[in-house]
């Protein structure tokens, strides 16, 4: 088990009902963690439409995780 901090933005924040949480998981990477959270919270976006960030920087899928990492799932962006 590892302990991770997850931050949520935009549509994921609304679907989760909170902006961040600390959780324990056996997921080895961010892709597996997202599937775990999607099943639990009903996120509508498939992982293929997201990017991952680990510890404040973009991380290529599947984005391996270690204990203490900070994870953000990035929905399709829409600035401008």
């Amino acid at each position: 088990m590892k302990t991770l901090r997850v931050q949520y933005f935009a549509i994921l924040r609304e679907q989760r009902g909170q902006a961040e949480e600390t959780l324990s998981t056996t997921a080895g990477d961010a892709a597996a963690l997202y599937e775990e959270l999607r099943a639990k919270h009903g996120f509508t976006l498939p992982v293929a439409r997201l990017r991952a960030a680990v510890n404040g920087e973009f991380a290529a899928w599947p984005a391996p995780l270690k204990d203490g990492d900070e994870v953000v799932f990035i929905p399709p962006v829409a600035g401008g």
């Binding site: 931050q7 933005f9 935009a10 549509i11 924040r13 609304e14 509508t44 976006l45 498939p46 293929a48 439409r49 960030a53 404040g56 920087e57 973009f58 953000v72 990035i74 929905p75 399709p76 962006v77 829409a78 600035g79 401008g80």
Partner: protein, 145 residues
């Protein structure tokens, strides 16, 4: 040379003044405004949300790329977060360069890359009370849109 996220209204005159440079013979600015419609639906307001730390990091990379690709002297880009009304200024970009061609090209490059890459999200509020996070619609489990 800067990119930043701003939670309060932008001041175009002050931003433009920050581009001043004796070597510059051209200044191109772009303003992104909140408009009252999108995809045929009347829009009443927008919320912008950003992952601030990574947005400013990615924005700084885009500015650095712009400086490497185009012979420009100064570049400034600021993007709003928070609740905006119709007509509000959502993004301001300014580029100064010795000659106009590079300033136009660099300005276009900046806005296109910012829209495609920086972790900023837009929620539209429609006249009928509905809301939508732009680019985040899903039709079903097996759709990729």
């Amino acid at each position: 040379m800067s990119f930043r996220i701003a939670a309060s209204p932008l001041d175009p005159a002050a931003l433009k003044a920050s581009l001043a440079d004796a070597h510059a013979g051209a200044c191109v600015t772009f303003e992104g405004w909140v408009r009252d419609h999108n995809d045929g639906r009347p829009v009443q307001a927008l919320d912008y949300e950003a992952y601030g730390a990574l947005a400013e990091k990615e924005g700084a990379r885009i500015v650095a790329e712009t400086l490497a690709k185009f012979p420009v002297t100064r570049v400034v880009c600021v993007h709003r977060t928070g609740s905006l009304k119709i007509g509000d200024l959502a993004v301001w970009i300014g580029v100064a360069s010795a000659h106009r061609g590079a300033a136009f090209d660099a300005c276009r490059y900046l806005i296109d890359e910012v829209k495609a890459r920086v972790p900023i999200w837009k929620k539209e509020h429609y006249a009928d009370g509905a809301t939508e996070w732009i680019n985040c619609a899903t039709r079903g489990e097996f759709s990729d849109r």
